[in-house]
């Protein structure tokens, strides 16, 4: 009788959790982790930055703004998001902060720990850098440090370039206020990137790639990235960019090994 009750309970739980319930990342010890170093190059001429005449709130946002969708210097790409897929157990998420391009000084702050802990600090009509990362089913704190309202509109896409985008949230971000929003897994199903825009200020556009572990990096101004303390094993290493798309390669991490990799995007 007890067994029947147990089976009914298990069946009910499986129905509640649904077939899509995925295995969550667990923090554990990595004693002999390896690392990956690499550079992302860009072969070609980056497109000219987009220029916007600011129509709403120029007193805060400035009279004109620009948006550089492909930022490359000396043939190396800045802002490419590098993600290692398929790791279920490993180090905690590291705290990190990335600041947006001037004149805006918005920030993507990752608090770290057992989860990513993303905070988006909007300042000077800037959400943060053009690219970043986000985790499904986690609360994201959106802070508005400006004295004006922004309207945060977020979308998810199954395609790294965001060819087809679906609304997740469309919400007012009141002056000097904050909201907390979860990007639920049912809306994020198969989603690889979240785009956030402000409905009031069209130059505010950012792309956050979905991660489920702390093994990610964002290429710096010289195109360099580093991921370390990786548990030994074979994984897929992805590099993603909202304009240039995605590249991937299989990598094998050896205990205490240091793997050098390179990616090259070509101007189409």
């Amino acid at each position: 009788m007890n067994n029947i009750a147990l089976w009914i309970l298990l069946a009910s739980l499986s129905l509640v959790m649904g077939p899509g319930a995925s295995h969550a990342y667990e923090v554990g010890n990595v004693q002999t982790g390896g690392s990956i170093h690499g550079r992302v190059s860009f072969l070609g001429s980056p497109p000219e930055p987009l220029h916007f005449k600011v129509e709403k709130n120029p007193e805060v946002c400035g009279q004109e703004r620009s948006l550089m969708k492909v930022e490359a210097r000396d043939g190396f790409l800045t802002g490419a998001v590098v993600v290692l897929e398929g790791i279920d157990t490993g180090t905690p998420f590291s705290p990190k902060t990335f600041t947006g391009n001037l004149p805006g000084t918005g920030e993507f702050r990752y608090l770290g720990g057992e989860s990513l802990g993303l905070e988006v600090k909007t300042k000077d009509c800037n959400f943060g850098p053009f690219t970043g990362v986000i985790a499904a089913n986690e609360a994201v704190r959106f802070q508005n440090q400006d004295s004006i309202k922004h309207v945060l509109h977020s979308f998810v896409s199954k395609d790294p370039r965001g060819r087809i985008l679906r609304t997740v949230h469309n919400q007012d971000l009141q002056p000097r206020n904050e909201i907390v929003r979860v990007f639920p897994s049912d809306k994020m199903e198969d989603g690889v990137v979240v785009r956030i825009i402000c409905n009031r200020h069209d130059f505010m556009q950012n792309w956050l790639y979905v991660v489920d572990n702390p093994y990610f990096a964002i290429s710096d101004q010289e195109g360099r990235f580093t991921i370390d303390q990786i548990p030994p094993g074979t994984y897929t290493l992805l590099v993603r960019h909202p304009v240039l798309g995605e590249q991937r390669q299989e990598v094998t991490i050896e205990a205490r090994g240091d793997l050098q990799v390179g990616f090259a995007f070509v101007d189409e």
Binding site: E55, K56, I148, K149, V151, F155, G162, R163, I164, L165, R166, T167, V168, H169, N170, Q171, D172, Q174, P175, P184, D186, K187, N199, R200
Partner: protein, 380 residues
């Protein structure tokens, strides 16, 4: 025919509720996930133009034309957690009598009736609220305060006026987002389903003093509600591209049962189509065509006096259940003004006025001369 339409509308509402309950609990438009073929095709075309296809809730309060002309209700859905309060004022003036498309003089009407209406004003103060329950459903409630005044003339040449006023019928509605998509080159396109109920809170036994006596029961056009629970099914489509916006809405009012006075008002159907142009961030102008068709009353109010004298002369056309139906096409012009962040909220001041360009009445009936709307909307 009417019964079939009623069943159809009832089925439409029950069916839509069934669809909603059958769908997974994820919040989103009802047809999300069912249009992947269309999305792929649109997404491919957008990509060829260097654009992206956006699927989802596209409501933006930041345009003056983000709302339809003020005479249109339930025209947009809201984002989750968003409130909108609206105050609308409507003034409608009806003047002179008509039968079919023929104008009649008072003397023409008085050949067959003891009394003829000469003109009528209807004023409504409408208080409504919309709330984005989630990304699928927007709720709406509206309570009107109605004031009616009708001027009459009898065969003796005596003029008299009757008045009625009070709260009208309460409307409750749920707007279900069906689908929305957008690309820069084709603009944004949104569809939603309107379902609702009208609750009989309006007085259907108003009285006033007339030459027939004090506290006489007033005829049908002077009543403040239908007295029945009415279904309010509908479908709405709106679009925006650059500075132009447009919309189409079909709405029905389908009466259920008979009221306590023993009659049932005729069903009413209307189709709105409008276009607007945004001249600046804060102002847009609009033109709207509104087609309405409404039917005669079924059965009758047994307490309402319909004849007078031993010869049983018909008293007044407004007391005749077979002289209530009609069709009308109105042309309306409007202005929407946006006051962004006024008192910290998006505020819209909208004005609209117009007149019929066609009306066919099962008369003699008063014909509509013109109407005027003004409204203030606050989105928070």
């Amino acid at each position: 025919m009417t019964r079939s339409i009623r069943y159809l509308c009832f089925g439409f509402i029950v069916g839509s509720l069934g669809i909603v309950y059958a769908l997974p609990p994820a919040e989103g438009a009802l047809l999300d996930g069912l249009m992947e073929g269309v999305e792929e095709s649109l997404g491919k075309k957008a990509e060829e133009k260097g654009e992206r296809l956006v699927i989802g809730n596209l409501y933006q309060a930041e345009r003056p034309d983000s709302h339809a002309p003020i005479g249109v209700m339930q025209d947009h859905t809201h984002n989750k957690g968003e409130f909108m309060f609206t105050y609308r004022y409507m003034y409608m003036y009806m003047d002179k009598m008509r039968n079919g498309t023929d104008n009649l003089s008072s003397n023409d009407v008085l050949k067959d009736f003891a009394v003829t209406p000469k003109n009528m004003t209807t004023q409504m103060h409408m208080f409504s609220a919309m709330y984005g329950l989630n990304d699928t459903v927007t709720l709406m409630a509206m309570l009107p305060y109605v004031m009616k005044e009708m001027e009459h003339q009898n065969r003796a040449g005596v003029n008299f006026t009757t008045n009625s006023s009070g709260f009208g019928d309460t409307k409750l509605a749920a707007l279900w987002r069906l689908y929305a998509f957008e690309t820069p080159s084709i603009g944004s396109h949104r569809f939603h389903l309107n379902t609702g109920l009208s609750l009989p809170t309006g007085d259907i036994t108003p009285t006033d003093n007339t030459p027939l006596g004090n506290n006489s029961l007033l005829p049908y056009p002077m009543r403040l509600g239908s007295g029945t629970v009415d279904l309010l099914p509908g479908l709405t489509y709106t679009g925006v591209r650059n500075d132009v916006s447009w919309g189409f809405q079909a709405l029905g009012t389908v009466r259920i049962g008979h009221n306590k006075q023993g009659y049932k008002e005729g069903n009413r159907y209307q189709v709105n189509s409008w276009g607007a142009y945004r001249w600046a961030d804060w102002i847009s102008t609009s033109a709207r065509l509104n087609w309405q068709q409404w039917y005669n009353i079924k059965r009758e109010d047994g307490q309402l006096q319909t004849t007078v004298g031993p010869a049983q002369i018909p008293l007044v056309p407004t007391a005749d259940t077979d002289r209530q139906g009609g069709q009308r096409l109105d042309l309306m012009g409007g202005v929407n003004i946006l006051f962004p962040e006024f008192m910290g909220l998006e505020n819209h001041l909208n004005v609209e006025a117009g007149a019929p360009i066609y009306q066919y009445l099962d008369g003699p009936q008063l014909k509509q001369a013109w109407s005027f709307w003004v409204g203030w909307q606050m989105v928070m």
